[in-house]
Every structure is written in C-alpha cells, then in structure tokens.
C-alpha cells in the first residue's frame, strides 16, 4: 500500500507539467500514452478522487494567474461606462471598437481554455470513466470548463466608480456589449458577426451548473432573455417611429425585411435556438403593435391597397398576418367592410341614374338623355334600353368587383379559405341588400344570351355563363330570380332570339347548381317549344294533304305553351287591375279561319283541351305592296315597292284594318281599338312601332308627334320607302326590360303570394311529419327547408302559421302556448 501511494506523486508530477505545457500550447511533444497511463495508474490505485481535486485546484490557479489578468485588462472603466450606463460622449465607431476588442479578448481566452480543457479531458479520460461517473460528479471537462463561467463571467467587479450603486458582473458587460453591437447592425452598421457568433456559441456551451442540464445553458438562461428584451425595446421604438413618419407600404416591407434579418441573424450571429422567439418579438412589437393604425392609414392603408390593387403590399400583409393570427381577424374585417362599401357604391351609382327613369314606354326627357349620354357613348337610348343598360352595368360592376377580389385572393392571400368565405359572405350580403339583384342577374343573362349567339364565340359565352352562375350563387331570393328568368326566357324563346343550345346549357348549369326543382319550369318551356315545332310541321303537312289551298297563303307557325310553365305576363294573364277586363281581341276573318282550322287539327289527337290565342306574344310576316306614287317619275317612289314586314300579331291585326280602307281615309285610335279590342296599352305600343319609328313607318300619324295619344288619327303611308326588302318593325315593349316601380311592386306582391303558399306547404309538410311541434323549432325548420329558394321573413312565417290555425290545419296545444298540433 505504501508503494502504491508513493506512486501517486510521480504520476501527478508528470500530469501537472503536461497540463502546464498544454496551456502554453506546447503539447506537441507530449506522449498521450504516457499521460493517459499516468492517470490510469492513479485511478487504478484508487486515487481518482485526489487526482480530480488536484486537477481542479491546478486549473483554478492557472486561471487566476494567467487568464483573469488578461480579461481584467480589457475591462476598462471606459468600457464599463459605455456598456452599462451608455455614457454619452463616445462615438459609435469608438463604442464598436471598444466592444469588439473586449469580445475578442473574451473569445480568445475562451478558445484557449476550451482547447486546453478538451486535451486535458482526453488524457484524464480514464478518470472520468472509472471515477467521476461512479461517484456521480461532473466530468472533469464540465468541472474545468465551468471555471470560465465562475471566474470570468460571474466575476464581480466592485468598481471604484461611485455612479454604480450596486455591484455588477462581467457577464452584464458582455451581454450589454453584444446587444449594443447587434443594435448597431440593426441600424445599418457592419459588425464582426463571426465574433458575436463565437461568443454566443460559448454561452451555449456553458451551463448554469456543472451538471450540464440541457435547458440550463447560459445562453438560454441569461443571454436570450436579455436579447429578447432588448430587441423588444428596439422594435417598439422603431414601430413608433414608423407609425409617425412612414406609410403602410414601407412599413410592410420593413416588417418583412426585419423578419428575414432576424432569421438570418440567428444563423450568423446569435443562435438558431432563438429564431422562433425573436420572430415572435418582431411580430408582436413591429407587426401587431400598431397594425390597426397602419391599416387605417390615410392614403396608404388597407383601403388604398385594396382599391389600387397593390398586390405586393397585400401579399406581404397577408404573409405577416398569417404568421401572427391564422384567423385573419384584422384583415378579414376591413376586407369585408370594404367590399360592402364598394358594393353599396355600385348600387348608389345606379340609383342616381335610375330615379328619373319612367316605368315604361313614355318619351325620354332631356335630363335623362343627358345622363344616358354620360353613361355610355352610344346613341341616346330609349328609356327601357337605359334600364337594361343599368342592369348590365350593375352586373358588370359586381363581376368586376368580384374579379378584383378573386384576383387579390389568388395572388395575395394564397387562396386562404377563411378569407374566401369572408369575401363570399360580404358579396352575398351587399348583393342581397340590393332589392333588384335577382332581376338584374336575369337581365344580364338575357342580354348576353340574346346577343351572345351572334357576336360572341363559344368560349366567351361560356365565360359569361360562368359569371352568371357565380352571381346566382350569391342570391338568397332564388324564387324571385326564377320568376324573372322565366319571363325573360319566355321572351327569348318566343322571339327566337337566342341559341337554343346555349339556353339549355345555361339551364343545365343552374340545375347542377340549384337542383331539379328550380329548373323544372324552364325545362318545360323548352319541351313546349320542341313540341310546338313538330306540331306546326304536322299542321302544314296536314293542310297540304287536304289540298285546301288558302287563297291568302297564310303560313301558320304555332307555339302551344303549357299554362303553368310559362310566365303569366306572356300568357296574357296579367293580374293588373286595368287588364283584368281584357278579353280576346278581334282577329280578321282570314286569320280567324286559320285559327279554327288549326284548332280542329289540334283537337284531333288531344280532345278536351283549350287553346287561347295570345296576340301579344306572336309575330307575323306581312308582304305589303306600296303602289307607285303618282307624279313621281324618278326615285324609288316612281315604282311599285314590295316589302316584307315583320310585325307583332297585334300589328298584323291593325294593318289588316288599313287593307280595307280606301285611299286617303284614316282611322282614329278609338276606332282601331273598338274594331280590334286590343288592350289600349298594347295598341299604343304597336301603333307607335308602326307610325313613329322611321324604319317601319308604314302608317302616318296625325298629328306627327313622338308619342301615341288616344286622340291621334292614323292613315296608310303610301309614300313609304325602305332600302331593305325585309323590315322588322321595332318592338316597343316593357316585358323584357327592367321593371318600373309599379311593375316591381306588382312582381313582389305576386312573389310574396307564391312565397306564402310555399311557406304554407312547408309548414303543413313539417307538421304532418311531426304531429306536434314547438313554434321556434317549426320556424327554424321552415327556414332550413326553404333556404335553397329564399330566405323567408320570420314575421311572414308567423302570419302563415296564424292563417293555418284559422283554417283548422293546426291547433294550439292546451297549456303549452308555443306548441302546435297538426289536424288531419
């Protein structure tokens, strides 16, 4: 034992002198094996504890004598002043020089110490394995590396200066210098990033205690909190400055740049451990802190970005908000209110134009014409056409707005689902706030389909149809739309004014969007048209076979329309008071014969049916001959002129009256009306078409004013001249156009009636299934069932329930005031 003990000192001597050499960087000639063996032997001889302690003592002494003086030298009073109390009077450059010099000194000391400790830990490897681990002490490396923490970083400097009323440690200076340098870089200075990185790595390698517990790195425990705190202060200040001096656009770019910078800084200067935390700091201090102020900025805020399609700004904004608030609340609100504003603006613009518009066919006054000229550069339009133009403009504007926001959504908002539903909701809201939206959408489709088949390519029509469907999706009052569309479609079909394939395409799109029930009427109309075509063919064949050659050679084309699928206006069943008395008009005898013949033919296969002739809906092609005007030897008037005139059925009846009239005779409005029994309004329109429009002025009017009055007289215009053979008399009608206020109330009233019935049916259906049901649930259920057609008003539902109670469909349950029972 004695001998073994005596072996310790020689071994320790070897080790000690080797450790000195290592610190002095003279290790190159040392034999690792010899040193390892020396420590191995000591441990084998059970002297590991002694060795452990001696190494620690040796290192502490070395530290005290050789390293501390070097560091202390660097900590000048000047440095302390600058770092801890930001004493004025030092230039930025000076401050940086001084700070970097200090850090460099710390870094060098650390590098040396770290390297030496690694080498010493290598030669003492057996000590760690067989002694330190067994006795659960910190490894020799941990125990010696931490000297740096205890003796340098935590070295208390009791400064001689009076301005410090408390002691401070070197670590404070180190942190302050690092943070100062980083702030310099943030302000645009160039600093020694590598140096800072080495310092922060050092802090990552050092722990609070020798146990080296992962989350007790000095970096995480001491440096990082201060770094975040300093950054927070920096960005808070910067944000305040920006909100005072800058605009939202440059703020956005600044935020983006700062976020990228901080991310880079974590890689190059501090530690990646901090990336997320520093990002949060920037997000909260720079992005969120004044977000509302920036978004509300006059001239550069969110409103301006949206209005001017500042795609880049909005993209950045989206990215920033997506980082901090995935629910998009700040963006969503403004976006929605802006859509509402813009949507209501569209409506307001229209309303300004619409106010002076007359309900129908009257002459346009000057004021309105002026407005029309403003609105479109085209020729002054008729009042009705203006209405259509207004509708088209509304739809176009809405679609334009929609395109704009779709565009922003795709290009800036990364097709964010939350924003999509927000945008959709706002569109739906303002569209449905506008009480003519259903009508206008239908009019828009009408306009495009009417002209579409001729002027537009399939692809263009396709786009239009798509857009129409987009708008359709927003509408809540779909029953209203159905009503208008039915009316417009009827007009197009009867006038043959559109491409039937396109029509069917549109309807099938609606079908897939809104279901079978919605389009059943439209499909019925298509079917009627097809059957009618066949019917007309068959009738012609039938006549030919009969050999009953009509001397007048009247060719008949008939549309047999099912009463329920076609709109009542077209079917001549208008419910307006003045038209209630309207009976059948008087057809000329030749036409009457034809009608009877067709009716007979029709009933052959379908006995028991009733046909009503609707004069207001048909057209007739009339071949007219205008005799040579006496006294004219040259020009078109010198010859006999034949024209094919296309007029409405009423027009045909009117013109036939003049066939029987002698030259120079005339008929008054009342006379015509008495003879034909055409409803006065229709008559007025048709006479206007034949006597006012220069293109087809085959009748002369006395007096020759621009509107038809009941007192006017009409005569045959023998001097009529036209360049084309085929002439179409212009239709002056209100049916396919925008409604006037009067008609509009009418339509709404009708619609409300239909709605009442629909609600009745829904209530009865529900009660039949439930037998007994509470008021609130019933209301909810009704709304759910009808959601696809329209949004019923609660008061209306209540009224209908009361009505049904009165009609003994339902009864109240005794004792439970809000519960109803179904009565079979």
């Amino acid at each position: 034992m004695h001998k073994e003990a005596s072996e310790f000192e020689p071994c320790w001597d070897i080790l000690r002198s080797a450790m000195t050499d290592i610190h002095k960087k003279n290790a190159g000639s040392l034999s690792f094996e010899q040193l390892y063996r020396a420590s191995y032997k000591i441990v084998l001889r059970k002297k590991g504890g002694d060795l452990y302690e001696r190494v620690k003592v040796f290192e502490e002494e070395w530290f005290r004598d050789h390293i501390m003086p070097r560091i202390s030298e660097l900590i000048t009073n000047n440095l302390i002043n600058v770092a801890l109390i930001q004493a004025p009077g030092t230039s930025l450059h000076e401050r940086r020089q001084m700070g970097e010099k200090f850090l460099r000194g710390v870094r060098d000391a650390w590098k040396d110490h770290n390297m030496s400790m690694n080498m010493i830990a290598d030669i003492l490897m057996y000590l760690d394995r067989a002694y330190t681990v067994e006795t659960k002490q910190p490894s020799i490396f941990a125990a010696t590396i931490s000297l740096f923490r205890n003796h340098i970083l935590r070295n208390t400097l009791s400064s001689s200066q009076e301005q410090f009323n408390h002691d401070f440690i070197v670590f404070d200076i180190l942190n302050a210098v690092v943070l100062d340098l980083i702030n310099m870089e943030r302000d645009g200075d160039i600093i020694d990033r590598n140096l800072l990185k080495q310092i922060t790595s050092m802090l990552e390698d050092l722990y609070e205690t020798d146990d080296e517990i992962g989350d007790q790195r000095l970096y995480l425990r001491v440096f990082e909190p201060r770094y975040l705190q300093a950054s927070r202060a920096f960005y808070r200040q910067e944000c305040e400055k920006l909100v005072r001096e800058s605009d939202a656009g440059s703020w956005l770019r600044h935020c983006r740049r700062r976020l990228n910078e901080e991310k880079d800084r974590c890689g190059t200067t501090v530690s990646l451990l901090t990336s997320e935390k520093i990002a949060k700091v920037v997000e909260s201090e720079l992005v969120m802190a004044k977000l509302a102020e920036f978004l509300a900025m006059e001239g550069s805020g969110l409103k301006v970005m949206i209005d001017n399609d500042r795609v880049e700004d909005l993209s950045i904004l989206y990215e920033l908000i997506a980082r901090v608030d995935p629910s998009m609340t700040p963006l969503k609100g403004t976006l929605q209110s802006r859509i509402m504003e813009l949507g209501l603006e569209i409506e307001k613009n229209l309303k300004n134009t619409d106010f002076s518009a007359p309900s129908n066919g009257g002459g346009a006054d000057g004021e309105e014409a002026a407005e029309t000229a403003e609105k479109s550069k085209a020729q002054p339009l008729t009042a009705a056409a203006q209405q259509t133009a207004a509708a088209i403009k509304w739809v176009d504007d809405v679609l334009f707005l929609k395109d704009k926001f779709d565009n922003l959504w795709t290009n800036c908002f990364r097709e964010d689902l939350i924003l999509q539903s927000a945008i959709t909701k706002s569109f739906s809201d303002f569209i449905n706030m506008f009480n003519r939206s259903s009508e206008y959408v239908s009019l828009f489709i009408d306009d495009n389909l009417k002209r579409g088949a001729k002027a537009k390519t399939d692809a263009e029509v396709d786009v239009v149809l798509d857009k129409a469907i987009v708008l359709l999706r927003y509408l809540t009052d779909r029953d209203m739309f159905e009503r208008y569309y039915q009316k417009h479609l009827a007009k197009r079909l009867l006038r043959n004014g559109s491409d039937i394939d396109t029509e069917k395409d549109m309807v099938s799109r609606m079908k897939s969007e809104m279901g079978n029930a919605f389009t059943s009427k439209f499909e019925g109309m298509f079917k009627d048209m097809e059957l009618s075509r066949d019917l007309s063919e068959n009738y012609r064949d039938h006549i030919r076979q009969l050999g009953d050659v009509d001397t007048q050679k009247i060719d008949l084309g008939v549309h047999v329309l099912t009463l329920t699928t076609w709109p009542p206006e077209v079917m001549g069943r208008s419910t307006t008071q003045e038209d209630a008395s309207k009976g059948q008009c008087n057809y000329p005898p030749n036409i009457k014969r034809l009608q009877d013949s067709f009716f007979k033919f029709y009933l052959k296969d379908r006995s028991g049916r009733v046909l009503t002739w609707v004069g207001s809906a048909g057209t007739a092609d009339i071949r007219c001959t205008f005799p040579k005007v006496p006294g004219k030897e040259t020009g078109p008037l010198s010859k006999e002129r034949r024209y094919e005139l296309n007029v409405s059925t009423y027009g045909m009846i009117i013109l036939q009256l003049f066939n029987d009239l002698a030259e120079g005779e005339s008929l008054s409005f009342e006379e015509i009306q008495a003879k034909t029994n055409i409803p006065p309004q229709d008559l007025q329109r048709n006479l206007a078409s034949l006597s006012i429009a220069p293109k087809a002025r085959v009748l002369l009017k006395e007096p020759a004013s621009k509107s038809v009055k009941p007192s006017d007289r009409f005569s045959f215009n023998s001097g009529f001249v036209s360049k084309s053979i085929k002439i179409k008399a212009p239709t002056i009608t209100s049916i396919s156009k925008v409604e006037g206020d009067e008609e509009r109330r009418e339509t709404e009233k009708k619609n409300d009636q239909t709605r009442s019935h629909t609600i009745d049916a829904a209530i009865v259906r529900i009660m039949k299934a439930r037998k007994q049901f509470g008021h609130t649930q019933l209301t909810t259920e009704v709304i759910t069932q009808l959601a696809n057609r329209f949004k019923p008003e609660i008061s209306l539902i209540k009224k209908r329930i009361e009505d049904l109670l009165g009609r003994d469909y339902l009864e109240r349950v005794e004792g439970e005031p809000n519960v109803y029972r179904y009565l079979a």
Binding site: S31, F32, K46
Partner: protein, 285 residues
C-alpha cells in the same frame, strides 16, 4: 446466410487481409519489440482512447505511432487480433516476454501489472488480462468477449486454476469495474463442489480435499482481501446457486441463483428441481 451477413463477413475478411499485407495502414502500435501496423479507422472506431491519441494534439498524432511500454506484447497482439476479427486465440503457450526496465518511476517490479520474466499463462488468466486491457483502452466489445470467455472457462477448470486467475481479476481493474469480478466470485462459489466430487464415496479423501481447498481460498484471500469481501457479499445476496432447466430451456445460463429454502429459481420463479428432489426423498413404499 443473407447478403447483409455476406457483406459483413467479406468486409471484415478484407480489412484483416489489408492489415496482414500492411496495406493502407496509417498508424502503428508498438509494444516492447513488436510493431503492429493498423488502420486508424479500425482502432479509433472501437476505442475512445486510441481515438484521442490519433486525433489529439499530442506526439502520437504527429508521429503516427503509439508506444505501449508497459503492456504485454502477447496481450497487445491479441487485442489487435480482436480489433480486426472480434476474437482472439487463448491457447496455453509459453509466454516469454521480458519486461523492460521501467523508463519512468511508474514501473514497480512487485505490482501486479508487471509480468515476471518467464511465465506460463493459463487461458483463464489470459482472459482476465485481456479484460483488463480492454478496460484500459476502453474497448467495449473486447471487454464483453473476454468476460464471456472467462465465464465459460471458469466452470470447467479445477479450483486452483480458477483461484490462480483471481489476482489478475482483482489487481488489473479498479473496483468500479464489476463485470469480471462478479463472474469470478460466482465461479469460485461453485469450485469447491467440483473438487469434492472427486472424493465422492471416500470420506477421508473428502475431508482432506476440503481442507486443501479451504487453504487455497485462504491464500488467495490474503493476497486479495477484496475477493473474500465480494464472496461473502455474494452469499448474502444469493444464498444458493443451482442448475435451472427452465432457464436453460429458454437460452439463459443454466446456473441460476436459487432460494435456499425451497430451491425456487430466483430468475424464472420455477422450482425445477422440486420433482427430482421429491423423487429422491420420497418415502419408500
């Protein structure tokens, strides 16, 4: 044999071949008169000590040579053999290594580390020494291998041979390294029984043998008191050791600690020998 195993076998063979032909060797271990050219990759991946020597900033790293003046060349040769093949030869041969004069005061002629001039080492002692060498250079695989070999051999040899290896086991590693010590103690507990078996049916011889065995233990105990301490501690923890057929059947060592009262296996809980005991002591009908 799958391709993975093929690959490993082939790989090992090729690397061993490269050493034999001194190809690509980049480091040399020297020991007494012997030089062992080796590959850093092979030795450093298996030993942190060699790794530190090769990568550190000491002399060895620059000279490419590590001298082991106080290790037994025959043992170092076995260590290198193990590093390249995963095993070593331990047949009994005449060891004729002459220890050099210590270069430093480190050497101590009477310490267990130093080897007498000429010595015949039994295989069991070779294993014990290989274990110590593995511990010194931190070669885990070799430590495991040597201790397994030691254990295997320990139960098959005579008591005096086993006790011969005790100084090697107790002197060459620190107390904290338990693996081999535990195995040696366990083997030592079984050894007397083996000795006495030779004297079955001969009470006189049995008595004599018992006395001789006890003397052997006493002698070793004087030389290595820690061994005796461990032996006593072992009896306290495990009072009895028997063959357990259940454990043997599932691939564990057949020798298992047993409760002294009912011979229940501590490891598997079964009473293997119960039936045989019952049979043996059943009253005759």
């Amino acid at each position: 044999m799958d391709s993975g195993t093929d690959f490993c076998t082939g790989f090992v063979t090729e690397i061993a071949k490269a050493r034999n032909q001194d190809e690509f060797t980049d480091f040399t271990l020297t020991c007494g008169p012997d030089r062992f050219p080796v590959h850093k990759l092979v030795i450093c991946t298996q030993s942190k000590v060699f790794r530190a020597a090769c990568t550190g900033q000491f002399k060895e790293a620059s000279t490419g040579e590590l001298d082991m003046p106080e290790d037994d060349p025959a043992m170092v040769a076995r260590m290198v053999e193990y590093l390249y093949s995963g095993k070593y030869e331990a047949a009994e041969v005449a060891e004729t290594w002459i220890s050099p004069e210590p270069e430093t005061p480190l050497g101590d002629a009477s310490s267990g580390v130093t080897i007498p001039e000429t010595q015949r080492l039994t295989p069991i002692r070779i294993h014990a020494r290989m274990f110590a060498l593995a511990d010194k250079y931190d070669i885990r695989g070799l430590q495991l291998h040597a201790s397994e070999q030691y254990e295997k051999l320990a139960t098959t040899i005579r008591a005096h041979q086993l006790l011969d290896s005790i100084p090697d086991v107790y002197d060459l590693t620190p107390e904290s390294v338990r693996r081999l010590r535990d195995k040696a103690v366990m083997a030592a507990r079984l050894a007397p029984e083996g000795e006495l078996d030779h004297a079955l049916g001969n009470p006189t011889l049995r008595k004599k043998t018992a006395r001789a065995t006890a003397d052997m233990f006493r002698a070793v105990g004087e030389r290595n008191p820690e061994f005796l301490k461990d032996l006593v501690a072992s009896y306290i923890v495990v009072s009895s050791v028997r063959n357990c057929n259940y454990c043997a059947a599932i691939g564990k060592p057949q020798l298992q600690p047993m409760k002294a009262t009912d011979y229940r296996c501590v490891t598997c809980g079964e009473t293997t020998s119960k039936s045989s005991l019952q049979k043996r002591y059943a009253p005759r009908r």
